[in-house]
């Protein structure tokens, strides 16, 4: 399979694809293992797990599943940062600025949400 008109050195798609696949694979393994563990213990009640309980007093299968969900949620954020770095390396300054704006708004959204 050949790439069409893609300038040499523009490897952002491949790096982003790898990042998404690694995040997805890690999350899938953790969520599936946690679900299997929970079902093996005969659980039929779904309990909420907060970010604090993830590290503290939640049951082990729940922690494993919640950890997988957290990895999944962090994957798109990681790809925003990765693109920012990749476009910086490509000196595509317009989109470095756009990416930086997204990071700023994301941080603001999270801070405002917690407030």
């Amino acid at each position: 399979m050949r790439d069409l008109d893609r300038p040499p050195g523009r490897d952002a798609p491949h790096i982003v694809q790898l990042l998404l696949r690694v995040g997805l694979a890690a999350a899938t393994v953790m969520v599936t293992a946690g679900l299997g563990w929970a079902l093996a213990t005969g659980r039929e009640t779904s309990l909420p797990v907060g970010l604090g309980a993830l590290l503290a007093d939640a049951e082990a299968p729940d922690r494993l599943m919640a950890g997988g969900i957290l990895v999944l949620a962090l994957t798109p954020v990681a790809r925003v940062v990765a693109l920012l770095v990749l476009w910086w390396r490509e000196r595509d300054w317009t989109f470095v600025a756009v990416g930086f704006a997204v990071v700023v708004v994301l941080v603001a959204a999270i801070v405002l949400g917690h407030a």
Binding site: L4, L24, L35, V49, G113
Partner: protein, 289 residues
């Protein structure tokens, strides 16, 4: 806390497969299907359903993104540009939601969906795409420094080049899509795909892939809040996520050969379904947990 029997867990996997498959195919996260199904079909509390739906949206986005980026269908620069608007819209939506009555918001939203569905059905604005190079191999690309690129469309039998037009229109609708996400806990892809396709002359397949790529970021910003507030239930969410990932991979496999007209029809049908649900809800007859 939600009681889940074995059939219910199996049902969640099936729901996830359906949402992931359709979401990956037409560029939505599946939240518009998952939230009503969880609330109406599984008796899940609304905030817990929204939290599970947001995780499902991220799963669809990540799965479909990992495939479409490799095929060159996703325009990452276009995605990042519109993400500025969606994330700002998300904050605005969250703030407005605390002021306006839900019935008013639902009514406006339903009207917007009816109009968009009508435009999609009419094919009111066909993008000016054309085959440049007849071929059956290769990957797409995006132009550095610009909102333009090309992709291989197997259904059309060649390379289709495109360039984004009327970016402010796309940004304005993306702002509204972000607001809808903040208000209702959905990814907003059902607004972004028509905005890119009809408003910005982006081919429907690139619009769907780019929307899929974007919705993960919008949903991720919200899901941390739901996580922090204790609305994420792992046992409810895990089977949904597993189903979504499987369904999304299946959807991406179909996308390459799907006819653009079929995708438009599917999206218009989904828009009408959600519009009816929203209208019923705003009139007090629909789901309201």
């Amino acid at each position: 806390m939600t009681e889940l029997s074995s059939p219910a867990l199996a049902g969640l996997v099936v729901l996830g497969v359906a949402a992931g498959w359709f979401g990956a195919l037409v560029g939505i996260g599946g939240g518009v299907l998952v939230v009503p199904a969880l609330v109406l079909g599984f008796g899940v509390d609304f905030p817990v359903a929204v939290a599970a739906s947001l995780v499902a949206v991220i799963a669809t986005s990540t799965t479909a993104g990992s495939v479409y980026v490799g095929r060159g269908l996703t325009n990452m620069r276009l995605a990042m540009t519109l993400e500025v608007a969606t994330t700002i819209g998300g904050i605005s939506g969250g703030l407005v939601a605390t002021i306006l009555p839900a019935s008013v918001l639902g009514g406006v939203f339903a009207a917007l969906l009816f109009v968009t569905a009508f435009l999609m059905l009419r094919g009111a604005s066909h993008p000016a795409v054309r085959i440049i190079e007849p071929t059956a191999t290769g990957t797409g690309w995006e132009q550095p420094g610009e909102l333009a690129g090309g992709y291989l469309d197997l259904a059309r039998g060649g390379i289709v080049r495109y360039r984004a037009r009327r970016v402010p229109v796309g940004a304005a609708v993306s702002l509204m899509a972000g607001a809808a996400s903040g208000l209702l806990g959905v990814g907003g892809g059902f607004l972004k795909v028509p905005a890119m396709h009809l408003g910005m002359d982006i081919p429907i397949k690139v619009a769907a892939a780019t929307s899929n790529f974007m919705i993960g970021v919008t949903a991720a910003a919200s899901v941390f809040i739901y996580f922090a507030r204790g609305y994420v239930e792992p046992l409810l969410t895990a089977p949904l996520v597993i189903g979504v990932i499987g369904g999304s991979f299946a959807g991406t496999r179909m996308s390459g050969r799907a006819q653009p007209a079929v995708l438009k029809l599917a999206l218009a049908g989904l828009l009408l379904l959600v519009a009816v649900l929203m209208a019923l809800r705003s009139l007090g007859a629909g789901f309201d947990a």
